[in-house]
C-alpha cells in the first residue's frame, strides 16, 4: 500500500512543478499604438501594451519585454509622447518612467512624484505632470511638477487646486482641471505661475482645446466623493474665468472627454455608451455614437481609427477594440492586461 501511494504522490508533485509557459512578444518598432493597463492595485503589474497596427502584433507588456522582465509598476495612469521619448505616469509607484521609443527601453525613472496623474509637454524640453496630494477623500492642494525633458528631472512645482487631472496646452498656457474642486488653473509655461483660475462645475476632470481655440471641460463626480452631482460639459474662452457654455447631464458618471485629431469632434462616455458631438454644438447629443461602455478612448491621429478600452473588473484581463473613424461595427479586438484605461500613439 505504501510504496505505490508514495510513488503516486511523488509523481504528482513532479508533474505539478511545471509552471505555465510565458511567451514574450518583442516590442514592435513601427506604427505603434500603446495601450495602458492599470493592473491590479498592489500587484505591481501595470503595463503598457505595444500594438503594431500593420502586422497586428501585440507585445502585452512592452516594458517588461524590452527591459529584461522588469515590471513597470503599480497603476499605470497616463503616457505622453514627446519626440522619441515616452513619459509614463505610474500612479501608485509615485514615479514617471521615461522610455525610448519605439524600443521601450528604460531611459530614466523620475521617482518621488507623488500620485502622478497626467503628462503634457509645452515643448521638446519641457513637460508637466499633475500630482495629487493628501490621503483619499482628505485631499490637499495638488501640484503640477515641471520636468526638464533633457535631463529628465523635476525642476519646479506649481501649487494648484485639489486632485489636478488631465491637463492640456494651448498657446503656451496650461489648463489644469482641479477635479476635487470646481476650478481650472491656468499656468503660464514661460513663468510657471498660475495666472488665472476659471470657475466651472464641480469635478472638472479633463480639458481639451478645439479648432476655434475654445476650451472644453468635462466635469463629473469628484473621486471618492459620496455626493453624486450631475455631470456637465463646460466651454470657456481663453482669457476668461467663467464658463461660456454649460451643457448639463441628467446624472453623474460622464467621463473620458476626447477630441478628434481635427479638433472638431468631442467624445465622451456616459451611461454605458460613447457619445460624439461637434465643437459647434449647443446641446448634448441624445443618440450614442457607439452603444458600449469604454474605460478608455483614443483616436489615432494618423488615420482616425478609434481605439476603445474595455475593462472587466479588477481581476480579469481587459481588451481593446478598434472601430473605423465613423464608428459602426468593430474592426477587431485584442486582450491586454487588467484595467485598460487609455492610449498613446507613436
Amino acid at each position: 500500500m505504501k510504496k505505490p501511494l508514495l510513488a503516486l504522490l511523488l509523481g504528482a508533485t513532479l508533474l505539478a512543478s511545471c509552471d505555465p509557459s510565458t511567451e514574450i512578444t518583442p516590442v514592435p518598432t513601427t506604427s505603434s499604438v500603446y495601450i495602458l493597463s492599470e493592473g491590479q492595485f498592489q500587484a505591481g503589474d501595470g503595463a503598457v501594451s505595444a500594438f503594431d497596427k500593420t502586422t497586428k502584433a501585440l507585445s502585452v507588456d512592452a516594458f517588461a519585454a524590452a527591459n529584461g522582465g522588469t515590471m513597470l509598476g503599480d497603476v499605470v495612469q497616463d503616457m505622453g509622447v514627446v519626440g522619441t521619448r515616452g513619459y509614463i505616469c505610474v500612479n501608485a509607484s509615485n514615479k514617471v518612467e521615461v522610455v525610448s521609443l519605439p524600443d521601450f527601453k528604460r531611459v530614466k525613472t523620475i521617482a518621488n512624484i507623488r500620485q502622478p496623474r497626467y503628462f503634457a509637454a509645452t515643448s521638446a524640453t519641457r513637460g508637466y505632470v499633475t500630482s495629487w496630494r493628501g490621503p483619499y477623500t482628505n485631499y490637499a492642494a495638488g501640484k503640477v511638477m515641471v520636468l526638464d525633458l533633457t535631463t529628465n528631472t523635476v525642476i519646479d512645482s506649481i501649487t494648484v487646486g485639489r486632485c489636478p487631472e488631465q491637463l492640456t496646452v494651448l498657446n503656451n498656457l496650461l489648463y489644469v482641471p482641479n477635479s476635487y474642486d470646481n476650478t481650472v488653473s491656468v499656468i503660464d509655461a514661460s513663468t510657471n505661475k498660475v495666472t488665472a483660475t476659471v470657475t466651472v462645475t464641480t469635478g472638472p476632470r479633463t480639458v481639451v482645446a478645439d479648432q476655434a481655440n475654445s476650451l472644453w471641460v468635462l466635469c463629473s463626480q469628484p473621486y471618492g466623493a459620496t455626493s453624486t452631482p450631475p455631470a456637465a460639459l463646460v466651454r470657456f474662452a481663453p482669457g476668461s474665468t467663467t464658463a461660456q457654455l454649460t451643457l448639463p447631464f441628467a446624472s453623474s458618471g460622464a467621463a473620458q472627454l476626447r477630441i478628434s485629431p481635427s479638433k472638431t469632434l468631442l467624445y465622451y462616455s456616459y451611461n454605458g455608451a460613447e457619445y460624439q458631438l461637434s465643437t459647434t454644438a449647443t446641446a448634448l447629443p441624445t443618440t450614442p455614437f457607439i452603444r458600449r461602455s469604454f474605460s478608455g478612448f483614443g483616436i489615432d491621429p494618423r488615420d482616425n481609427t478609434i481605439y476603445a478600452a474595455v475593462s472587466t473588473g479588477y481581476t480579469t484581463n481587459g481588451r481593446f477594440i478598434r472601430y473605423p473613424a465613423a464608428g459602426g461595427a468593430a474592426i477587431d479586438s485584442f486582450t491586454v492586461k487588467v484595467g485598460p484605461n487609455g492610449f498613446a500613439f507613436y
Binding site: 503516486l8 505539478a16 498592489q42 505591481g44 515590471m71 509607484s93 528604460r106 507623488r114 459620496t226 473588473g313
Partner: protein, 652 residues
C-alpha cells in the same frame, strides 16, 4: 455519580473511535485522572468527514507563533499570506477566506464585519488544542463552515499540582518574543494562564528585477511593532455533576501594513484588538444526559490609517448557546441546541450611526452506532438571519470498519490492521457579513446567505508492519458546490461596487495522506506525507460578472504536497517540514501566476532535565531553509532563510 459515569462511558470511547488520530506522535495526550463530566465535543457528530489535528508537542514548537505559522507547515493547508505577520487567510478545499468558520471554545469568532479571521492575529499561546475540520459543516459549526472549520480550544488540565514554563525567543530580522504559561489544579479548580509577546522588524532583503539585473532592497514598513496575547482560563467543578468554566482571550497587535513592493509612499498601520470572554456551565442529569449553556462577549477593533486616511471599526458581539445532549439507548446520543448572536458595529464605512444585527439558529445532532464497527451521524441546523431564513443545512455521515476495527483506545499502538470506509454529505451556508450588508456605498441589505453542498468519501487504512510501527493511510475524494457566491460588481447606485448573489463555484479534488509512527527504545519517530489535488472553478455566473467560467480560481493551487517528520531521542528533538505548492493564478483570467515553490523548515531542540522538577529546552528553528526566492503574494517577496532561537525553562 452513576449518571456521570454513564455519560463518560457513552461518549468517550465512541468519540475516540470517531475522530482521526493526531497527525504526529511526538506527544501523547493527557489522560483524565478520573471519569468526570466530560464535554461531548461536536466532533463526535462529525462522522465520515476529514479532520486534521495538531498535537500538543508540535504546537509547543510554535509557542510564540500564530495559527498562520503552524497550519501551513504542519497540516499542509494553503494560506494566502501578504507577508510575515501580515494578513494570512486559510483556503480550505479551494474556497475563500470567508468560507472557513473559526471557533474558539465552541463560539464563532470570525470578525462580523469581514466574515473572516486573520490567522496572523491568532497567537498559538491562547489555545491548547487546534484542529481543522474539512468540508461543509454548518450543522456543527454554523455560518461560514463551507470549506471547513478551524477549531480552537482551551482545555482544562486537571492533573494536580503546579506546572509552568517561561520562554524567550530571538530571531532574524528583529524577531523578539516570549511566552509564559502556568497551570495548576486541585480536585475542584483548574486554572491556566498563558501569555505571549512578539515583535519583528521584518526588514529583510528582497530582490527586484531591474533592466540591469536583480537589485537588492530592504523591506520597508512591514514591522510587527507588537503582538500580545493573554488568556486566563478557569474551570470549577460544582458538586459532582457540574462544571463552570470561564475563558478570556485578549489579543492586541500593532502592525505596519506591508504594501506591494512597487507601491510607494505608504506608511499604513493597523491596530487590531480583540477581547473575548466566554462563560460556560455544564451539568450532567440523572438520566445520563448533559446540558450546557454558554454566554460570550467579544469586542473586535480594527483601526487602520495611512498618510492621514483613517478607517476605524469596532464591533461588539454577544452570543449565547444552550444545548442538551441525551443518550438514546445504548448506541446513540442526540444533541439539541439553540444559539443567538447580537452584533453592534461602529464602522467608519457604514456611516455615522451604529449598526446592529441579530442572528439565531437551532440545531439537532444525532450519533448512532448500530454496531461498534458502524458509526452514523445525522445533523441539521436552521439559522434565521435578518434577511430571512438561511438554507436548512443537514449533514449525514457514515464510517464502517470493513475489517478488524481499531483499538478503542487511540493512544495505544494497536498491532491489528484495519480498513475503514467513510462518507459524508452536507449542506452548508454562509451568512452575509456586516460589510456586505451595510458598507457605503454598495452595501446590500437584501443579500442572501451563500449556500453550498458537498460530498466526500474515502478510506482509512491502518497497518502495523512491525512490533512498534504503525502506518496509517487516508484517502478522501471530495466534491462541493457553493451557490449564491457573493461577488462585488459595479451594479450599485452610480456604478458603485455592490455585493450580489450571482456566482456558482465548484470545487473537487483528492486528499491523500500517509503517516508512519514508531518507536524503538527511547527513540520515537513520526513522518507524514500528504498530498491534495484541488480543482476549483466558477461554473455559473451572469454577463456583468466578467470572471470567466471553467478556469482554476486565483489563489487555489492545483497541487499541494506536505511532508513532516519528527524525531525524539533522549531529550533531543529533530523536526522538519517540506511544503510544495504548485503555481497559483493571481487573477481570474488565469494569465498571471505565482510560480511553484517548495519550502523547508526545520527545528532542532534539546531538553536538559534540571533539579527540582525543572528542565531547560533550547530550540533552534529555521524557516525557508533552502533560501527560496519567492513571492508569498504578488509583489510581496517572502523572507529569505531565517533563524530563531528559543530558550524555555519549565517546571512540572
Amino acid at each position: 455519580m452513576a449518571s456521570c459515569a454513564l455519560v463518560a462511558g457513552l461518549c468517550v470511547p465512541l468519540g475516540a473511535r470517531g475522530q482521526a488520530r493526531p497527525d504526529t506522535l511526538t506527544g501523547r495526550r493527557h489522560r483524565l485522572p478520573e471519569a468526570r463530566v466530560r464535554a461531548v465535543r461536536p466532533e463526535r457528530f462529525a462522522v465520515g468527514s476529514q479532520r486534521l489535528e495538531i498535537d500538543s508537542a508540535a504546537l509547543a514548537q510554535y509557542r510564540s507563533g500564530t495559527a498562520a505559522d503552524v497550519l501551513g507547515a504542519r497540516l499542509g493547508l494553503y494560506i494566502k499570506n501578504y507577508g510575515p505577520g501580515q494578513l494570512a487567510t486559510l483556503s480550505l478545499r479551494g474556497t475563500s477566506a470567508q468560507h472557513t468558520a473559526v471557533l474558539w471554545n465552541g463560539l464563532n469568532i470570525a470578525l462580523p464585519t469581514l466574515g473572516q479571521n486573520d490567522l496572523a492575529l491568532l497567537p498559538i499561546s491562547g489555545n491548547t488544542q487546534l484542529s481543522v475540520q474539512l468540508g461543509p459543516a454548518a450543522a456543527l459549526y454554523g455560518s461560514g463552515a463551507v470549506g471547513g472549520a478551524l477549531v480552537l480550544r482551551t482545555e482544562p488540565d486537571w492533573r494536580p499540582g503546579l506546572r509552568g514554563s517561561v520562554q524567550g525567543d530571538l530571531g532574524s530580522f528583529g524577531l523578539r518574543g516570549g511566552s509564559l504559561e502556568a497551570r495548576t489544579a486541585t480536585a475542584a479548580v483548574a486554572v491556566r494562564i498563558a501569555a505571549s509577546y512578539r515583535q519583528a522588524q521584518n526588514n529583510y532583503p528582497y530582490f527586484v528585477r531591474e533592466p540591469t539585473g536583480l537589485v537588492r532592497y530592504t523591506m520597508q514598513n512591514a514591522a510587527l511593532r507588537h503582538q500580545w496575547s493573554i488568556s486566563p482560563d478557569i474551570a470549577w467543578r460544582v458538586g459532582t455533576a457540574g462544571e463552570l468554566t470561564a475563558s478570556v482571550w485578549l489579543t492586541d497587535a500593532d502592525r505596519e501594513i506591508q504594501q506591494g513592493v512597487s507601491v510607494a509612499g505608504s506608511n499604513a498601520r493597523e491596530i487590531d484588538q480583540s477581547r473575548r470572554l466566554v462563560l460556560g456551565y455544564r451539568q450532567a442529569t440523572q438520566h445520563g444526559g448533559q446540558w450546557q449553556v454558554r454566554g460570550a462577549w467579544f469586542e473586535d477593533i480594527i483601526n487602520y490609517s495611512d498618510q492621514g486616511a483613517v478607517s476605524n471599526s469596532r464591533v461588539r458581539t454577544t452570543q449565547s448557546q444552550a444545548e442538551y445532549t441525551a443518550p438514546l439507548g445504548q448506541h446513540a446520543s442526540l444533541r439539541l441546541g439553540l444559539e443567538g448572536q447580537h452584533f453592534a458595529a461602529v464602522v467608519d464605512g457604514y456611516g455615522a450611526g451604529p449598526i446592529t444585527e441579530n442572528r439565531a439558529a437551532a440545531f439537532g445532532l444525532l450519533r448512532y452506532d448500530p454496531r461498534p464497527t458502524l458509526r452514523l451521524s445525522a445533523n441539521v441546523r436552521q439559522a434565521a438571519l435578518p434577511a430571512g431564513l438561511a438554507p436548512l443545512t443537514p449533514t449525514l455521515g457514515v464510517e464502517w470498519d470493513i475489517f478488524q476495527p481499531f483499538s478503542p483506545d487511540s493512544a495505544v499502538l494497536a498491532d491489528r490492521p484495519g480498513l475503514t470506509l467513510k462518507a459524508s454529505a452536507a449542506r452548508t451556508y454562509r451568512a452575509p457579513t456586516l460589510n456586505e450588508r451595510y458598507w457605503r456605498p454598495g452595501g446590500n441589505p437584501d443579500l442572501l446567505a451563500e449556500s453550498g453542498h458537498g460530498y466526500e468519501a474515502g478510506l482509512r487504512h491502518r497497518v502495523a508492519p512491525g512490533a512498534h510501527v504503525v502506518l496509517e493511510t487516508e484517502l478522501t475524494a471530495f466534491y462541493q458546490l457553493v451557490d449564491n457566491w457573493v461577488q462585488w460588481l459595479p451594479l450599485g447606485a452610480g456604478g458603485s461596487y455592490s455585493p450580489r448573489n450571482l456566482r456558482q463555484v465548484r470545487s473537487q479534488g483528492l486528499e491523500a495522506s500517509t503517516t508512519l509512527r514508531g518507536h524503538l527504545g527511547r527513540y520515537r519517530a513520526a513522518a507524514r506525507l500528504a498530498y491534495s489535488y484541488t480543482q476549483t472553478q466558477k461554473t455559473q455566473g451572469v454577463a456583468v460578472d466578467a470572471d470567466p467560467v471553467g478556469l482554476q480560481l486565483a489563489y487555489v493551487p492545483l497541487h499541494r504536497a506536505n511532508f513532516t517528520t519528527d524525531h525524539n531521542w533522549r531529550g533531543w528533538l529533530g523536526s522538519a517540514t517540506y511544503t510544495f505548492t504548485s503555481y497559483v493564478y493571481t487573477n481570474a483570467s488565469a494569465s498571471s501566476f505565482l510560480p511553484a515553490v517548495g519550502l523547508l523548515t526545520a527545528t532542532l531542540g534539546r531538553t536538559v532535565p534540571l533539579p527540582g522538577r525543572t528542565s531547560l529546552t533550547l530550540l533552534l528553528q529555521s524557516t525557508n531553509l533552502l533560501n527560496r526566492i519567492y513571492d508569498s503574494y504578488p509583489a510581496r517577496p517572502a523572507p529569505p532563510q531565517a533563524y530563531s532561537v528559543s530558550l524555555r525553562f519549565a517546571y512540572h
